[in-house]
Amino acid sequence: MKKRNQKKKNTQNNFAKLSVFQNQKYKFKKKCPLSGKGAPMIDYKNVKLLRRYVSENGKILPSRITSVSQKKQRELSLSIKRARNLALI
C-alpha cells in the first residue's frame, strides 16, 4: 500500500510543479538546458534532441515542464514542426 501511495504522489508533483505549496525537493530547475555555452544546436535534423521535448503522443511539451527559455522554445517548436513535415518525428 505504501508504495502505491508514493507513486501517486510523484505523478501529482510532476503536474503541480509551479505550486506555491510544493515540497522544496520538487522545485523545478531554473536553468535552460538549451542556452548558455556548450548547449546543443536546435536543428530539425537532430531528431535525438527533439525527441526529448516531445511527448509520447508527439505533442510539443510546454516550456514550464522542460524549463526551456522562451527564445529557445520558439526555435524548438519551429524545428519540431519541420521534422514532422519530413516524418522524422
Binding site: 544546436m41 530539425y44 531528431v47 518525428i89
Partner: protein
C-alpha cells in the same frame, strides 16, 4: 545569394540506381538556374513516423545549396510534378553547417 537546405523524400520502392538518377536530375536543375551545390547527403532508407501515400519508408536526399529565389522556385515546381517523390522541404539558413551529419551515425548503427 542565399543559403538553403533542401530535403526530398522518394518512394520506398525506388532502387538505389533510381535514387542516383533523381539526385542527378535535381542537381542539374539547380545548376541550370544559377544555383550551386555545396554539399550532397544521402540519408538512405529511413522509417517514416507516419504513412505517406501508403509508404512506410522513404529514401531521403539532402542538398545544401547556394542560390537565389529563382533556383528554389524552379526546383520546387519540378518536384511538385514528380510522382516519385513524397515530400520536399526547403529551409533558408543564414549559415550552412557543412560539418555535422546527423544521419551518418544512425546509418552505421543499422548496418552493425
Amino acid at each position: 545569394m542565399n543559403f538553403y537546405e533542401h530535403t526530398i523524400i522518394a518512394r520506398q520502392d525506388t532502387p538505389a540506381s533510381q535514387v542516383k538518377v533523381l539526385q542527378e536530375k535535381y542537381s542539374k536543375i539547380i545548376e541550370d538556374n544559377e544555383g550551386k551545390i555545396l554539399k550532397f547527403e544521402s540519408w538512405g532508407l529511413l522509417h517514416l513516423s507516419y504513412l505517406i501515400k501508403k509508404n512506410k519508408k522513404g529514401n531521403y536526399i539532402h542538398f545544401k545549396i547556394e542560390g537565389n529565389g529563382k533556383t528554389i522556385k524552379e526546383l520546387e515546381r519540378n518536384e511538385k510534378l514528380d510522382k516519385n517523390l513524397l515530400r520536399y522541404l526547403t529551409v533558408k539558413v543564414k549559415k550552412l553547417d557543412l560539418k555535422t551529419d546527423y544521419f551518418k551515425k544512425t546509418e552505421g548503427m543499422d548496418s552493425k
